[in-house]
Amino acid sequence: MTWLTIAQLLVALASGLVSTLRKQPGIPAEVLADAEAATAALQRVTGSEVTKGQLDALTFTPQW
């Protein structure tokens, strides 16, 4: 698994978490802000568009 794939998975998880947190009452604003900032930083790493490089990272190599 390449760093790009790991980053994409983290973006997916972080975006889902932020979306869930937003719907919960009583979550402190600074916690939401931190979560959104972290997600935005991850998205900058992986890019919001589908690119050739992202697909190249999705290669399965048989090990046996």
Binding site: M1, T5, Q8, L9, V11, A12, L13, S15, G16, L17, S19, T20, G47, E49, V50, T51, K52, G53, Q54, L55, D56, L58, T59, F60, T61, P62, Q63, W64
Partner: protein, 135 residues
């Protein structure tokens, strides 16, 4: 125990991807994201499942590569590569393109892509069933 943790993570990942399937526009309304993003995310999630299983079973499968789960992992992996290639065609990517080139969808490639994704989904489910997890 370790096995169940892997599947809990996969379930969480799938839920996150479902939530990621919709994005908010500037007016705050939820709109579907471009389909190629959803398809990329589906392939990424299946890739994670297959690589996790491949890593977990490496020793056993190298010793006995004809075991059903070992064969299923490689079949699903081949389906993953086919789905990725179909998405490459849909996005008009060629091997010479730079990694930063963005997807330019070709609607005529849609049927082949959907068929490849269906195959990948079926084979990944088969790997999960053979591994003792309910998908």
């Amino acid at each position: 125990m370790k096995n169940s943790r892997i599947y809990e993570s996969v379930i969480l990942l799938v839920l996150a991807l479902v939530m990621l399937g919709c994005v908010k526009n500037q007016a705050g309304q939820t709109v579907p994201q471009p389909p190629e993003k959803t398809w990329r995310d589906i392939i990424t999630a299946d890739h994670a499942v297959l690589v996790a299983e491949q890593t977990r079973r490496a020793t056993a499968c190298k010793a006995n590569p004809t075991a059903s789960v070992c064969v299923a992992i490689n079949k699903a992996g081949a389906a993953e590569n086919i789905a990725r290639d179909a998405l490459n065609v849909y996005c008009q990517f060629s091997p010479a393109d730079p990694p930063t080139k963005a997807c330019a969808p070709v609607p005529s490639a849609l049927a082949a892509l959907q068929s490849a994704l269906g195959q990948l989904s079926d084979l990944t489910t088969q790997v999960q069933v053979l591994s003792g997890a309910t998908p």
